[in-house]
């Protein structure tokens, strides 16, 4: 271990997150590798290590001969301060080597509010922020993840974006990089060649011009780069890599357990949901394979908790079969199994009960909207009857608490819909009262509302976010109508959601704002310890950028959107159609009931979805 590091670690909080050395961390011989890859997560260790995608890519790249992929997380403020004072550059956890000397630096972008951390990490690595200021073939700064579907706000800083699932394209990218180095290409030559790899977007190869009203005019690809870059998917999900042998952190992280991925994608097309569209089409993994992977992963890691992680777990067809198999092994081995994200409409209580027989902690439902009309408009088909029935059974069997998640500010929302939320909570309370075996024990009903953020590649990508004042008015309205001591109401902080709305649909002009805010000290914007809205407002003013232009403006149908240069496989026409159906409050059937022709089937072999 580096001596200086050893000196500063006793002075910082939770030093174990900066040391590496965990079980299953991959340590290779520096002399035996020719490509060094820094896999960066722009948030804390605890959050980054809980990310399954990180673990998958780490495994995939370290399986390659001659490639050493290391993890890098954003140091917390106290550590950053010590590092800057002692002149320690951002380093890979496995080797302790400074990542400025690595060949590739890849960022996983899961949340817009981490953008300033990307800049901060580049700076901590001792690298210039802007792509054009980093000459030479090393390091190449790569970014992927859900936020890469609108890469523009980070376009000046990142050399290339990887769209979609990274398992295959990371390998191709590394191979191309090796070739470039052997043949002594320049960085420009390498980027031009990388742009030819399906799924890779090289922002510097696109000339962007704006109209006087600030909207995009033209985006002209250079050097043969494709006009639209389509995301990559793993076609055979049974054969794709799963990290059976995975790092077991020596300190507690957020999701400290085995995560089994049942399938990718989601058959539902909730109109607000970026994941629902962006991960299409659905690809499932065989239950026998999952069973094997789950058991092996538990044995190898010593974890005593396993969770089934997918977008909408209860849509996995052989779920019962899989759970039976897992429980058969889990119970005698004292491993607890948990099922997150079950839906209320096909919620199988028996299954839940068998699975969580140890702890009856609480049930979570996400009806998202207060009235059936609005739920139809967003295609969240959770009939109230179903909802209440499952709730009633659940409560009569002694689940002590219920959490309900909603969004405020969905397109077409009226005050009636807002009050519907209070109404629903009230109904749940009454359902509990009618059925509970022991009314004295009381019940906890928690209602949480988030402020709706319109996201790219969704049916609501043209929609404005309601204004902050309006959001606050609706929160107040709801608060006034939320009665009863058993019902607790939480609402999401409005300022971060507003910025999220700006970055999610921002263009390249937003990049300057992010850089300015970072220079003024913005980092860890997802953390209230660091978030400072005034700093952001000052940055917008300094750059002459109006945030409302991005957050609160209704886009025209024919407007060129900044993220039109990327495609998730779902056509813009389809999304527009979905938007119109939202206004008519017409539900669109899920992929299993009927294919509605979104276009994502073209990503599948043979052009057919297997929902």
């Amino acid at each position: 271990m580096n001596r200086t590091l050893e000196h500063i670690l006793p002075r910082v909080q939770k030093p174990a997150r900066y040391t590496g050395g965990e079980y299953n961390a991959v340590v290779k011989d520096r002399r035996s590798v020719d490509v060094r890859y820094a896999l960066c997560f722009p948030d804390t260790y605890e959050i980054g290590m809980s990310n399954l995608g990180m673990r998958i890519l780490y495994g995939v790249m370290n399986q390659m001969d001659g490639v050493w992929c290391e993890r890098v997380f954003a140091p917390w403020g106290d550590m950053e301060e010590e590092m800057r004072r002692e002149g320690i550059l951002l380093y890979g956890l496995e080797s302790g080597d400074s990542i400025a000397d690595f060949d590739l630096i890849g960022f996983s972008l899961g949340y817009e509010m981490a953008y300033t951390n990307v800049l901060n990490m580049l700076d901590l690595a001792g690298l210039p922020l802007r792509s054009e200021e980093r000459y030479g073939l090393a390091p190449i700064v790569v970014a992927g993840g859900t936020c890469a579907y609108n890469p523009e706000p980070l376009a000046p800083f990142v050399d290339l974006f990887v769209l979609g699932e990274g398992e295959d394209v990371s390998v191709e990218l590394i191979q191309l990089y090796r070739k470039a180095r052997e043949e002594c290409w320049s960085k420009e030559e390498f980027l031009a060649a990388a742009a030819q790899v399906p799924g890779i977007y090289v922002p510097s190869l696109y000339q962007v011009s704006y109209k006087p009203d600030g909207t995009l005019d033209q985006v002209i690809p250079q050097e043969g780069a494709p006009a639209v870059v389509t995301k990559r998917i793993v076609q055979d999900f049974d054969k794709s890599y799963f990290p059976v042998k995975t790092i077991v952190p020596s300190t507690e992280i957020v999701h400290d357990r085995v995560m089994l991925e049942l399938f990718r994608g989601c058959i539902r097309g909730c109109r607000f949901c970026q994941a629902g569209y962006a991960y299409r089409p659905v690809r499932s993994r065989d239950p026998e394979i999952l069973l094997k992977q789950g058991i092996e992963a538990c044995k190898d890691s010593g974890y005593q908790e396993m969770t089934l992680s997918s977008l909408s777990t209860s849509d996995y067809r052989p779920l019962e079969h899989l759970c039976d198999g897992l429980l058969e092994w889990c119970e005698p081995n004292k491993v607890s199994l948990s099922l997150p994200s079950l839906r209320a409409d096909n919620f199988s209580l028996g299954l839940m009960e068998r699975v969580q027989h140890v702890r009856k902690s609480g049930l979570t439902f996400a009806p998202e909207a207060g009235t059936q009309r609005l739920r139809d408009a967003i295609t969240k088909p959770v009939p109230e009857e179903d909802l209440l029935r499952t709730r009633r059974t659940a409560m009569s069997r002694g689940w002590p608490s219920v959490k309900l998640y909603f969004m405020l500010g969905l397109p077409t929302e009226t005050d009636e819909d807002v009050l519907g939320i209070a109404d629903l909570a009230e109904k749940v309370y009454r359902a509990w009262k009618e059925t509970t075996p022991n009314p004295k024990r009381g019940v906890n009903i928690t209602v949480s509302t988030a402020w709706f953020v319109p996201k790219p590649h969704t049916a609501f990508q043209w929609e404005p976010q309601i204004s902050m004042e309006e959001y606050q008015r609706r929160v107040k309205l709801l608060r006034e109508h939320m009665k009863g001591r058993s019902i607790k109401y939480n609402w999401h902080d409005s300022q971060t959601s507003f910025l999220e709305a700006v970055f999610a649909r921002g263009d390249r002009k937003v990049a300057q704002v992010i850089e300015t805010a970072w220079r003024e000290g913005a980092k860890f914007d997802a953390w209230s310890e660091y978030f400072d809205f005034d700093r952001w407002q000052a940055a917008f003013a300094a750059c002459g950028v109006d945030p409302a232009f991005y957050a609160n403006r209704t886009r025209e149908k024919d407007e060129r959107l900044p993220w039109d240069v990327t495609s998730v496989g779902v056509s813009k026409d389809f999304l527009w159609r979905e938007r119109q159906r939202a206004y008519q409050a017409v539900i669109t059937p899920d992929c299993r009931v009927q294919c509605t022709g979104c276009g994502a089937n073209k990503l599948c072999p043979g052009g057919k979805c297997d929902a």
Binding site: M1, P15, A16, G21, Y23, S250, G302
Partner: protein, 287 residues
Amino acid sequence: MHRLAFSKADTAKFISHLDLMRTFQRSFLRAGIAIKHTEGFNPHAFVSIPLPLSVGFSSGCEVLECQVLDTPLEEVPARMNAALPAGITVHRCYEGVRPVKELAYVNYIVTLEYEAGAPFGAESAIRSLLERPSLVMEKRSKKAKSGKVEVDLIPLIARADVEERRDTIALDLILKAQNPGLNPELVVAAIRANCPDAAPDYTVFHRRAGLADPVQPWDERKTRLPPRRKSIFVTDPAGPRPPDGSCGTPCPSGRAGRGSTGRTHRCTAARRPPPETEFPRPAGGGR
């Protein structure tokens, strides 16, 4: 009850006590070694690590207590070492004999580092500080209302050797382990407070041995105290060191020591030659 003697070094120094217990529980599962579980509603593998080590300290003498169910004890170290994170090495697994409450002293090596070399006079300043009849420091306490209590360090220091090297000063300390124990960080804090010129730029803490009394190792027959260095002075755990140079161990006759006048009687226990050592050195770079 079985005991695993292990060392903690390098990156593993920064694993906290609670995290370390969790790490061991998982490592037993990874190694396929069944250990006894607690009873009750939420049974979990029972492990216990007496005398929690502060985060950032290395140690060559940690002990974990558990009940190995059906693995031959001699197989345990190798299997555990394959399952543990870097920096933690199990040296032995054995049937524990002496109870934890008899673990009365801990030997620490505290290295004070000076970037510009050890300041002139620092060694003797520290030496005379630790030779004072009493040295009272404030310590954080959860129990006290003010959040602080005053402790006199001297009765809790059984032995202190001070040795100057080129740019470090090494303290070889034997401190009371429990009821109450003394964390060597407080000794360093006392140096900072009382001899500011001798304040180190950085301090390295290493726990070398757990002892039953200032010269007797605790529990393990094979473990012996390392040979003494020069400049030994011995302090009575129950009070200031008597001028006659007696040993400072609690008196077996009960005439001196705890509850009495605070003076030790004459005894030669401390002058026994140090036994042969076969002591686990801290593992250097882990695996």
